[in-house]
Amino acid sequence: MLRRMDAAQALADLTEISSQVVHVAIVDGEGTVLATTISDPGRSARFVEGVTRLLEEADTLRQARGLPSLSQLEAATLEGSVFVVRSGDRIIAATTRPDPTVGLVFYDLKHCLRSIDDAAIANGTPRRSRKKAGDAA
């Protein structure tokens, strides 16, 4: 519950600071939505499912091209861009209008995830890290 409150605060800060971000969802390792700007629960669930599929496809492509682990991506369409940043077991996904300032959006999204981590540490909740590919089970 505390993590959800941290995420909600971080999301509120992000939407206040970043004028380029339109919608955002912050998801934990189990696929639970910690905070989102999409008010309809059905739409937000479908949005998170879509982000998960996008990340899976991107990971497959990354492996096929022999790239190291994926940390972030931008998919630019004519309607706008989808940004996804992965940090530890958390994911933040955002949509923007067309032609966003890519570096600035990534910076804001990473800052948002960092602020949740900082709040979790301050509250005594240790951050869980994602297992890297190739780690022994």
């Binding site: 949005f47 879509g50 996008l54 790239l67 682990s69 940390s71 004519l78």
Partner: protein, 67 residues
């Protein structure tokens, strides 16, 4: 006569500059997917390849859901 030539030249130059600016803007707006790895490397996949199309289809669905 030289004045007409000058006007024509200015119109031609204006058209050329406009065309260049339009092309630059259109090129910037091309659909693509940029993948960033943990080591800082980046792979850009331009629209037109089957790999990009799968990811861009998902991205378009996300845009439609979010707006």
């Amino acid at each position: 006569m030289p004045r007409r030539v000058l006007t024509a030249l200015m119109l031609a130059a204006g058209s050329l500059v406009g065309s260049i600016l339009y092309r630059r803007r259109a090129a910037r707006r091309l659909e693509r997917v940029d993948l960033y790895a943990e080591d800082g490397s980046m792979a850009s996949i331009a629209d037109g390849s089957p790999d990009a199309e799968r990811l861009l289809t998902l991205a378009r669905e996300l845009m439609a859901l979010a707006h």
